[in-house]
């Protein structure tokens, strides 16, 4: 693992302890029920963990990017559904971090510091991978915008107090007419539609948001009109490593469960050991998890150093998500009937969404391949007349 500071190590340990005590014991029950229980967050409130990305001047924990990744890995380890609740709330505030004014930040971050949660609303039925193809509009009327339309698959939607919603302020311009807004819970005309049931991350809340003539003050516009796509892309650059972290936690959990199972089956290595086929599978899992973790931490180091990290963000999301899928599938197979009848099967179901949300891995590969194929910049300037 990356060399961590004493403070980072301590935050990681605190998160690990919290997850072991508060999340792991109830994860299977939450998964089976398939609904989000807000009381899951009661224990988290005290720690202000939902404000881990909020700058200190607004009362948040102000964790650096690497520390946030450490926390999210632990939450993914405990339950990727509950982890998704946290990651999605951080995602919502990323848009405000990217484009918010001081007043907007105060408005959005204060609930986070109180332990409330937020939602990010970009996706629509017609706008999944094609994120700029939404139909929701926000047309200006005096000193207000009037919001009409719907958003789908919005994590936390039923329980969030603050939302970042993307809508067209100029529908004639397509994605160039997209803008971002802060919308508060309870605004007249803003209601919750269908609640989705999913293959995995079943303890997270996923809903449809419906907007009918919802009036929001112009002061809630993030950035300028037409900057929505830019803000969304910058937000997702920040947010993708959060998904990578959850996925990494799932993979690590799957490996740990396999190891536990093997040790139960072979309590005394001097008497009997699993065959090399099985031993090497475990070794491969470990190799790949370590490598993926290094890429994630490297990406976070770039972000913390203020360096470009957009391509690394896409790479780490893709590699950790694919890894989680691979390791959980192998783990279920390796443990046979035990895998199929235990919480391991939950890990496999949870892992699948990691390849889909926050930009499918196909969209990530599009981003990465563009960078791969971009004309190479010479490492050293070519000098005329040189040898």
């Amino acid at each position: 693992m990356t060399l961590l500071s004493a403070e980072q190590k301590q935050v990681k340990q605190t998160a690990k302890d919290f997850v072991a005590k508060e999340i792991i014991p109830i994860a299977a029950k939450l998964d089976k029920a398939g609904v989000f229980h807000p009381q899951v967050l009661d224990a988290a409130r005290e720690s202000k963990i939902f404000a881990m990305a909020v700058p200190r001047e607004f009362g948040g924990l102000d964790y650096d990017a690497l520390t946030q990744a450490l926390v999210l890995e632990e939450w993914g380890y405990g339950c990727a559904g509950v982890g998704t609740t946290l990651a999605a709330s951080v995602l919502s505030m990323d848009s405000v971090l990217v484009a918010g004014t001081e007043a907007q930040k105060k408005m959005f971050f204060e609930p986070m510091v109180r332990g409330e949660i937020g939602s990010f609303g970009l996706t629509e039925p017609s706008a999944g991978s094609d994120a700029g193809n939404g139909k929701t509009t926000a047309l200006k009327d005096g000193d207000e915008y009037v919001l009409n339309g719907s958003k789908c698959w919005i994590t936390n939607g039923q329980f969030s107090t603050v939302f970042v919603i993307y809508a067209l302020t100029d529908p004639t311009k397509g994605m160039k007419g997209l803008s971002a807004f802060i919308v508060e819970k309870g605004a007249p005309g803003f209601t919750i539609g269908t609640v989705d049931h999913k293959l995995g991350i079943r303890s997270s809340n996923t809903v449809e948001l419906l907007f009918k003539d919802v009036r929001i003050p112009v002061s809630n516009l993030l950035g300028k009109e037409g900057e929505g796509m830019k803000i969304a892309m910058m937000t997702l650059d920040l947010a993708r490593p959060a998904i990578a972290s959850l996925a990494l936690g799932i993979a690590q959990r799957a490996l740990d469960e396999c190891v536990k199972h093997v040790q139960q089956n072979y309590p005394d290595p001097k008497v009997a050991q699993p065959g090399q086929t099985l031993q090497f599978k475990l070794a491969d899992m470990r190799i790949q998890i370590e490598a993926a973790r290094e890429l994630l931490h490297h990406t976070m180091n770039l972000r913390d150093a203020g360096l470009p990290f957009s391509v690394e963000s896409a790479m780490t999301k893709t590699s950790c998500a694919d890894l989680a899928m691979k390791v959980t599938t192998e783990a279920v197979q390796l443990m046979g009937a035990y895998g199929y009848t235990s919480e391991l099967s939950k890990l496999m179901r949870d892992a699948k969404i990691m390849q889909i949300y926050e930009g499918t891995n196909q969209i990530q590969r599009l981003v990465i391949s563009r960078a791969v194929l971009a004309p190479a910049k010479p490492a050293v300037a070519v000098q005329k007349g040189g040898n």
Binding site: T341, I356, R365
Partner: protein, 378 residues
Amino acid sequence: MSIHLTEEQALIGQSAREFAKEYLDPIAVELDHSSQYPTAVVKALADHDFLGLFLPSEFGGAEAGFVSLVEVIENLSRSSAAVASILINHSIAAYAIQRWGKADQKKAYLPALAAGKTLGAFAVFEHGPTPGVGPDALQATQQPEGWVLKGTKAFVRNAGVADLYVVLACTDPAAGGKAMAAFIIDAKASGLTVGAPFDTMGLKGCPVADLVFDNVIVPATAMLGGLTEGQAIITETLAVASIAEAAQTVGIGQAAVEHAAAYAKTRVQFGRPVSTLQAIQTLLAETATDCHLARLGLHEAALLLEQGKPFQVEAAMVQQFLARFGAKMLVDTVQVEGGFGYSEFMPLPRLFRDIAGTTLLEAPADYPDQTIATALLA
């Protein structure tokens, strides 16, 4: 090879597809939700002769062979792999009796199994790395009154609904897994209880539970095969099971790739159906290829089995292939359908949960590799 089905095999496959549309499509989703054993559907399977498909006609079977059996399993699995699981576990119990039974055992059990009046189950696993060694391993002790069975069989499919079990028990604790013998046990035998059903990831509706034997006494005539034949019975029967489960995997994969292809044609992003995107086409092409190659392999293994030739290496190769590519079929087809595909109102999540159980339940993860390598190195 056998992928060119005979007219009879093709007809049987077709009738299984029609059966699945009529009986399984209407109940598959509800079965997945409720996990209630589908009594009426199993009766319909019996009425259509699917429960005795490969058994000899002298015992009332259809004597249609194993290629027909895998055709039926694939076609049922395209609609409900859970129902196929019930059929598979019944069939391998019947296989063991037909293969190792003495004349009077065959006469006593096969007609009822073929007619579906008796549902069978094959119980081999235990809680522990291999049968015969764990602390609650099923032990069979010879007493004056007969064999006395004590211990537990784990993860038995059709447990609680089967009428008879073919169980593997250790006859010599000192020799452990090397001294295994098979017994035919009546489900109503005194001292035999069924544990609480396991909550499986998928294949819901085919019950999985432990069988607990508390001094179950059976006569010497209940032994299937010889005293030292248990290990051979396990190996060969599980190889037959792996061919059947390969057909189940291929059935699920085929249903998934057909659904994902149809979906991709209707899902418009970036102003065009996503089916026109090369990245989506690759996911579909890989799944269809894996499905097709697995089908070729499993048909070959089924044909070898049908012809009485060695088939275990070929069966292990199919299992090996599907251990790598089986679950991937659903990982990739759900990916084609994206967020929609992950939602439980769509069909692929059920298939995703089912396919994880079809490639792994009947053998330890390293079994196929060992079988193939042993043959290579012999």
